[in-house]
């Protein structure tokens, strides 16, 4: 049903604007919450009516059947509400704010079995990731600056079951990105709204992409990744790229000059290089970044497909008719094009690959929705 999607939308000559995204986020969140309340009231109203009907049933067997019907209704409407919460949260502007010190939050999706562990470190990720592991969601959490960034670092804030190692060497330059893990196998991929961690986030993503490509899974890239970066460029805040030593050249591409001494960037660069080999011939590349990695080991310009995804396609598919799924995704593609991102859509074997990214704000929004 997705064949009509454009393979590539090229708007790389457009500039990225990010200044108003926080406002947009807040307004959209407000709308989403209002919608959720409205939906919740509808459910409550209808449920009350069903309960009244059930009360009127007299026979014991029939009563039991009626209660089962009520239970099914509750389950169904819960799913409707939950899907609304999830999708609405994911449909929020894929941005984030300049508040890069915001505490990470942790969503417990255990009850819904929606989340699966991917890994707890980049290394581990490399070994463990299989597309089939991706049952439903992959969530990126914002992390407090300096919390983690270490090759041997384990876990993440919000996950008390694992230790946190902090490498001060990276604290001043990099915010955190690491994948938390707990015994209940809830995924906690951490990512900070910072170019460096975004880059490292890509490294994670690219490993996933590799598996994705190798398994011929469908691939969707929304504008969220670049949205994430835009405020950092425009805000010039405490964590601006300039102050943190990054040079950004917005001219349809993004260029980063990264500290050469960072060992992790060697690793990261390797990841980029590895991914690039996979993607360099992919003419339908989605978001094309240009990284200039000035590193002792790696000094090359690479073009990367980044695919931090906003919509969980599976959830959308389950909730919305096929036509509307096309519509929604198409809208994302169009939106991306409007703000200068190039998105393409891959569909190789009919299987929709599902992945999503939630930044801290979206995470909070989801948590807020689900908590009600």
């Amino acid at each position: 049903m997705f064949e009509s999607f454009p393979k590539s939308i090229d708007n790389t000559d457009k500039k990225v604007e990010g200044a108003s995204e926080n406002i947009e986020f807040a307004e959209t969140l407000q709308d989403a919450e209002a919608g959720e309340m409205e939906l919740g009231l509808l459910v409550a109203d209808l449920q009350a009516d069903i309960e009244k009907q059930v009360d009127e049933i007299s026979g014991p067997e029939e009563k039991e059947s009626a209660l089962k019907i009520l239970s099914e209704f509750k389950e169904s409407t819960f799913k409707s509400l939950r899907d609304y919460a999830l999708i609405a949260a994911l449909a929020l502007p894929g941005i984030s704010n300049a508040d890069t010190n915001k505490e990470a939050s942790f969503i417990d999706y255990e009850s819904t079995n929606q989340v699966e562990v991917i890994s707890k470190s980049l290394e581990d990720l490399e070994k463990r990731v299989h597309v089939d592991d991706f049952e439903t969601m992959h969530i990126f959490f914002g992390h407090k600056k300096g919390e983690l960034i270490h090759e041997q670092g384990q876990g993440g804030k919000g996950d008390p079951t694992v230790s946190v190692e902090t490498s001060t060497e990276f604290d001043n330059k990099l915010d955190s990105l690491l994948i938390g893990h707990n015994p209940d196998e809830l995924i906690t991929i951490t990512m900070h709204n910072h170019p460096a961690s975004v880059l490292l986030g890509f490294a994670n993503q690219l490993y996933l992409d590799e598996q994705e490509i190798l398994n011929s899974k469908t691939y969707i890239a929304p504008p969220s990744t670049l949205d994430l970066m835009a405020p950092l460029i425009s805000s010039g805040g405490a964590n601006s790229v300039e102050q943190d030593g990054y040079v950004v050249d917005i001219n349809g591409t993004w260029k980063y000059e990264v500290d050469k001494s960072k060992e992790n960037f060697v690793r990261f660069s390797n990841a980029i290089g590895k991914a690039t080999e996979l993607h360099e011939d992919d003419s339908s590349a989605v978001v094309n970044f240009l990284y200039e990695m000035n590193d002792e080991v790696v000094n090359k310009t690479v073009s990367v497909i980044a695919d931090l995804q906003v919509l969980d396609v599976e959830i959308v598919k389950q909730s919305i008719s096929g036509k509307n799924v096309e519509f929604l995704i198409k809208e994302y593609i169009d939106k991306a094009a409007e703000i200068g991102y190039t998105i393409s859509y891959h569909k190789n074997d009919g299987t929709v690959f599902k992945r999503e990214r939630l930044n801290a704000d979206i995470n909070q929004a989801t948590k807020s929705f689900l908590a009600r």
């Binding site: 939906l39 459910v43 059930v54 049933i57 209704f73 509400l81 999708i87 929020l92």
Partner: protein, 45 residues
């Protein structure tokens, strides 16, 4: 179309889903009621 519109559409879709569930439940309950009524009428006869 922006995120607001997407969320608006989503809300409508989910509302529709909820209402469908309601009608489905209502139909099932009405069937139960009809069954009970039928049995009552049989007993009266």
């Amino acid at each position: 179309m922006d995120s607001k519109k997407i969320i608006s559409i989503l809300k409508l879709k989910q509302q529709s889903e909820v209402i469908d569930s309601y009608h489905e439940a209502l139909e099932k309950i009405n069937n139960l009621k009809n069954k009970l009524d039928g049995e009552k009428n049989q007993n009266v006869k």
